[in-house]
């Protein structure tokens, strides 16, 4: 759950410009459909995840299912760590 919190904080501070949206962000919110993660945002998020959680994310893993919500990102990372 700590990972979940860290990811949420990163998204709130680095990817969301609007403070009211940032304050109300839930782990189940769709980050893609709401535009919180856009084409530049995904690049920043990847750099953050790879550095912070010491994982290597392959290009073919960059599909919506893995990044749709904070929960999905968390589960994706958990799976990666299990593999590694």
């Amino acid at each position: 759950m700590e990972d979940n919190k860290a990811i949420k904080e990163f998204i709130q501070s680095e990817l969301i410009k609007d403070k009211s949206i940032s304050a109300n962000l839930k782990v189940t919110d769709n980050l893609i459909e709401t535009g919180i993660i856009d084409s530049l945002g995904i690049q920043k998020l990847l750099a953050y995840l790879e550095t912070t959680f010491s994982v290597q994310i392959a290009d073919d893993e960059l599909i919506p299912d893995n990044f749709q919500t904070i929960e999905a990102i968390f589960l994706f990372l958990k799976g990666k760590k299990r593999e590694g």
Binding site: E33, D38, D59, I63, D65
Partner: protein
């Protein structure tokens, strides 16, 4: 980082220079004037191994490391006076072959890579649309699944190689509400029902590279021609762009080296007011600045390539590299033209062509402004 070059790498660059001088420059002025693509040169490039430099031997490539590929491109950029041909070849490699190698199924690789590498097929990719350039993920071209096919509808614009391409990687929307994550890629062959291309567009530079419009009208694409998973379009596009921004611009580095050499030689022999113009600081300082830009271009290019070779992501480095090299090529071309005065402005020499060709580099593969946005975004802005 270790940028020391092996003898093999140095030799490869030399061989590329000799090859380009010997086989790619015939009738280049005439082709430039007629906006004519050099298909014979394309095949000669394939014979030399250019289209397969970085591709595995299994598919007929040379399987070379990234630094050797870059040095080869530098050599070609230095000696080949047909920038349009080099641009066509690079687009083919980085936006068609590489993504098929990286994201394709075994069947797709076996079907397309050998013929792309041996020069029998010409490839490219189609992302840009009439209303969507820098806002790449806003594209409207749609792909709807029907049975075991996708039906593609839309128009693509300014597509490199389109008029001569046998296959294009077409980016299309498969998920309406998903923005950048709703884009998928399809390998579309020129004979697929509903696929057509417009006439080559008349551009300011890169005259010998065919660039055109692509029209998809109920274009039927078998499901097996989907490249990567549904929604993988942005990952494929980012991967392509990082490679292209890291490698294509090596040809610009080579071209800048050539311009510099010619400026130095000219500044030594051209006399005005009783002495060589190179003895005037107004000229020698320009040449020194050209050299500085080349040196810095080389360092950032090699750094980005080194990171890619390590399997690392290099979004900032490839953006800096693309931005700096493309801007430097324009500045160096302007200076080279100015140093040569009216001779430089004349179409007899290559400086005005370099200038026209160089400006394209500030636009394609993400404009200079977009590269700055990427860099700023990573700074939290």
């Amino acid at each position: 980082m270790d940028f020391s070059l092996t003898d093999d790498q140095i030799n490869f660059k030399k061989m590329a220079i000799e090859f380009a001088r010997r086989e790619l420059n015939n009738d280049v002025k005439e082709r430039e004037k007629n906006s004519e693509f050099n298909m014979d040169g394309w095949k000669r490039c394939a014979g030399f191994g250019v289209q397969g430099l970085s591709m595995p031997e299994k598919y007929g490539g040379l399987g070379l490391d990234i630094l050797t590929c870059i040095l080869t491109m530098e050599g070609l950029g230095y000696a080949c006076r047909d920038s349009g041909l080099l641009f066509a070849v690079n687009s083919h490699i980085w936006t068609c072959e590489s993504p098929i190698l990286k994201f394709g199924t075994d069947e797709q690789k076996e079907k397309y890579l050998p013929a792309l590498i041996n020069g029998a097929l010409v490839g490219g990719h189609a992302m840009t649309e009439p209303d969507y350039g820098s806002d790449a993920y806003g594209i409207k071209c749609k792909a709807e699944k029907k049975g075991n096919k996708y039906i593609l509808n839309g128009t693509k614009m300014f597509i490199t190689n389109a008029p001569i391409a046998d296959i294009l990687l077409i980016f299309a929307v498969t998920g309406d509400k998903k923005g950048f994550a709703g884009i998928s890629v399809f390998i579309v062959e020129k004979n697929f029902h509903g696929f057509s291309v417009g006439k080559p567009l008349d551009m300011m530079g890169l005259k010998t590279c065919p660039i055109g419009e692509v029209i998809l009208e109920d274009c039927e694409v078998p499901e097996k021609n989907k490249l990567g998973k549904e929604g993988a379009g942005s990952a494929i596009f980012n991967s392509e762009m990082e490679w292209e921004r890291s490698c294509l611009f090596a040809t610009h580095l080579g071209a800048m080296e050539k311009e510099l050499e010619e400026c130095v030689s000219y500044a030594k022999v051209r006399h005005q007011f009783g002495k060589p113009i190179g003895k005037y600081q107004s000229i020698s300082n320009k040449i020194a600045e050209m050299r500085v830009r080349i040196e810095l271009s080389r360092l950032i290019l090699y750094k980005a390539a080194w990171m890619k070779a390590q399997g690392k992501r290099a979004p900032i480095e490839s953006a800096i590299s693309k931005l700096f090299i493309s801007e430097s090529y324009v500045e160096n071309s302007l200076e080279a033209l100015q140093i040569h005065g009216a001779y430089g402005y004349s179409t007899e020499l290559d400086f005005e062509r370099h200038l026209r060709d160089s400006i394209a580099g500030k636009i394609y593969s993400g404009t200079s402004e977009i590269q700055k946005n990427i860099i700023a975004s990573f700074l939290g802005l």
